[in-house]
């Protein structure tokens, strides 16, 4: 496949495929958590994604300390932390860079102010959007996306799969009414 058709996020503020594929990759690793390393080929098949491309993405995730790799035969990747301790904000930041809808709204405190910062009244808008996104993303963990497993092999893992364990409830008032149903 040369390229994905049209554009997978049609409008404004779209994530790139890096973000999308990377999250799907992480979810797969979440399902396999506790089963030892999983090879990229395996995951690429499961999610129907180009393996060579996933290699690039997983490198970012590894460098960010989110996944751990094992080289050699029977090697692969696995989560470096339990799923409920991986905030989705971290995942997306590792994949796509800092969450910043605009150059003057970087997450870094040493934000590169635009030259017009003096009379720039628009700044507050981008800041608020950035905070809303970051807040939402950091309020969700990978555990919220991994489908519940019936019976974990290791009973100690039951606490991990418990819903809403660590992640605070978001203050965004998210009404996700019947989204996918």
């Amino acid at each position: 496949m040369p390229q994905r058709s049209t554009f997978h996020g049609s409008g404004a503020l779209a994530f790139s495929t890096k973000g999308e594929y990377g999250v799907r990759l992480m979810v797969q690793l979440g399902r396999r958590y506790g089963h030892g390393p999983a090879s990229l080929a395996e995951i690429a098949t499961d999610e129907d994604l180009p393996r060579a491309y996933l290699e690039q993405l997983v490198t970012s995730l590894r460098d960010a300390g989110l996944v751990h790799s094992t080289r050699g035969a029977r090697g692969g990747y696995e989560l470096a932390l339990p799923p409920d301790q991986i905030r989705m904000g971290e995942v997306l930041r590792a994949l796509e860079g800092p969450l910043a809808p605009m150059i003057c709204a970087t997450e870094e405190p040493d934000h590169a102010l635009c030259d017009r910062s003096a009379r720039c009244t628009v700044n507050i808008l981008w800041i608020r959007v950035r905070d809303a996104i970051a807040g939402t993303l950091d309020a969700m963990t990978l555990a919220d996306l991994v489908p519940v497993r019936h019976v974990p092999i290791d009973p100690r893992l039951a606490t991990v799969a418990a819903p809403g364990a660590g992640s605070r409830e978001a203050e965004t008032g998210a009404t996700l009414a019947g989204a996918t149903s």
Copy 2:
């Protein structure tokens, strides 16, 4: 100037220049609200933006019913509504298209489900991000971005510039309900 340096939104989920310039354009129109039409050349100079490019953007805003145009000499553009009745969400949607971080999280009810929608547990993440963005944007109006004017020429216009006009207090949670259904 052929192109803007590097990329004005460095990381993930960046607005394009359409969104940025368009908002700045609207703010300028907000400052001039009540003073009759303003020409694009004037605004382009004030904001130091390419006039020919603004022409394209303002077309979208006009088609969305946010600005009103007057043709001919001494013509120009003006806001079609008072600033406090223009939600920033509308502005950005007009400029950039629907707020959708991912194809499977469109604002339209007839969302084109990705082919994997059955076993897609990731969807909820994009939906929440989309709601957070839309909620934040729709809770702010153009009046929140226009710097307060000291003394309007026409005293009747004081009501327009007055801060308590209503939509300021909208909390993010309330407006979300209507958006999704």
